[in-house]
Symmetry: C2
Subunit: 321 residues, 2 copies
């Protein structure tokens, strides 16, 4: 059952801001439909305009509330806003067991806001290609700002964050300590730190810890010219959200001034191309000998007859040949 | 400056349990040395005996303390134990800013324990090949049990956990709630749940939430015949650790009975071979046109002249040809 898809028309309608066209295009790229390449080619000339902001942090720091507050702030400035929630614990990504946190409801009927949840499929490379493609759709659809919300500090999250022009890392007092989080590499990815739930005990301490860490980090890496600001918010009441927007603006100005925006976007494109290429190569591996090559080689490795490198060489021969 | 490496002799000495030989072999595989393939081939006949136990959980749940308690429990049973810490926030992996959590100190001088931290290199695929190779070294060196400690529930962690025969997921009361953690996919990867810090308020509630979730999950997936037990511990005082070992044993017995152990190990080998093959293909991509192919293509994508799929096709052509 193939529905006829007029990609050119969909792209036209998406560019006019029709939410259903935007949603349909994202579905086409997310599901790796046969139209994926056609969609990518059709979008290409219209991309590169959106400001991409990544938001990340451990579960419980208030990412969804902060995202929602930022959407509101950008809407008040008249911006068209896209949200990609790649947080498996997000209420928007369908992974929620409870429906009690859906705070984005207020934006659901706003024609200037596109909200899309990206389910984490659990397969290697899933997010690394689907999310940038969804981002391209929102970009081509005329979003001035796209917020990419991810959870945690794992490798896949860092990958997704690498899509962003500006990465905002959220913390909350009493969620382990700031130092703990820093160990997991957030210092390297954060352009702006937000200590949310700043009305709670320990917020000042968390902010101080972060600032101390940042100054230590700068001593080690003199080339790190951008000093991530630490902003305190109570996102649920909208407090400090304007400061976050200001910090993001400052960072963006810095990116422009230093030519860093172009470098980041070139790196982003490299990662995106590489991920697609590797996904293609992975599926070629899967197809070798009708899909049985890997299984056969794995059995021999388990039996100790073959080491995994020798097995991999045989696979790669098959792909290259 | 090449040091002469007698791989065969190193493997002999590692099999005799000499820690320096074990450490040196892990370095050889971890650093992707020119001897990597030779080491892999030499180890291959001696692998497949170790019981591999994965431990994962968010920062702050007490993973290191729990790992240390399990090492003690297995040592008391006369087992030779290996530990691979792939937790970037672990005190063993060199990422620690503070040295205050080094609780494995007690095992440092035990000749029956090998502890190795795997630094997360931050590059895609880094852990996915280095960790299984280190595991093979510990396995060939005669470890009866290898504990693989990872943080979080991100994609890379799931990948590492996929190495394990039995995966233990740790939670603690008051770290967000159990449901929250469950959303992030831990229900699918956990063979044993441990609620650590069970002397704290909310431990019973967390355990109840987990059990409820498990029963919901089972209703959805009738084929999931193993019902993950929920064990409460206070690892810092050694309480409940015996129950964890018993739960792991029960799961292992189930794996054997169902033939699931062989299937898991075959899947593990498949993932390992594929990761090595993709890493090889990735480096071929990096080498194309003296390393400039990807950069050039990325520039054209940023400029909107080329879409990322068309760019990826050109890369793959280069690799295949």
């Amino acid at each position: 059952m193939t529905r006829t898809v007029d990609v050119a028309e969909l792209v036209d309608r998406a560019r006019e801001g029709q939410p259903r066209a935007v949603a349909r295009l994202i579905s086409l790229v997310e599901d790796a439909s046969p139209h994926l390449r056609e969609v990518a080619a059709a979008l290409s000339p219209f991309t590169g305009n959106a400001q991409v902001i990544g938001l990340t942090g451990a579960p419980g720091v208030g990412k969804s509330t902060s995202t929602s507050a930022l959407v509101r702030a950008y809407r008040e400035r008249g911006k068209r806003v896209g949200v990609l929630a790649v947080d498996p614990s997000s209420p928007f990504s369908g992974g929620a067991l409870l429906g009690d946190r859906v705070r984005m409801g207020e934006h659901a009927t706003d024609p200037g806001v596109f909200i899309r949840s990206m389910a984490t499929r659990g397969h290697l490379g899933g997010l690394s290609w689907a999310t940038p493609q969804a981002l391209r759709v929102l970009d081509a659809a005329g979003c001035d700002v796209v917020l990419v919300e991810t959870v945690g500090v794992g490798q896949s999250e860092v990958e997704v964050v690498s899509l962003a022009d500006t990465t905002v890392v959220l913390l909350a007092p009493g969620m382990g300590d700031g130092i703990q989080a820093a160990k997991a590499g957030i210092l390297e990815i954060a352009d702006v730190f937000v200590v949310n739930k700043a009305d709670r005990d320990g917020a000042d301490q968390t902010a101080r810890d972060l600032k101390h860490m940042i100054s230590l980090g700068r001593r080690e890496r003199a080339e790190a010219l951008w000093r991530p600001p630490v902003v305190k918010t109570v996102a649920a009441r909208g407090e400090g959200v304007q400061d976050v927007v200001d910090a993001i603006d400052s960072h963006r100005a810095w990116l422009h001034e230093k030519g860093e925006l172009d470098r980041r976007r070139a790196r982003r494109a490299e990662a995106e191309i590489e991920a697609i290429a590797l996904d293609d190569l992975r599926s070629r591996i899967g197809d070798l000998h009708g899909g049985s090559a890997l299984t056969t080689l794995a059995k021999r490795v388990v039996a100790g007859e073959l080491d995994p490198y020798a097995a991999a060489d045989r696979l790669v021969e098959g792909v290259g040949g």
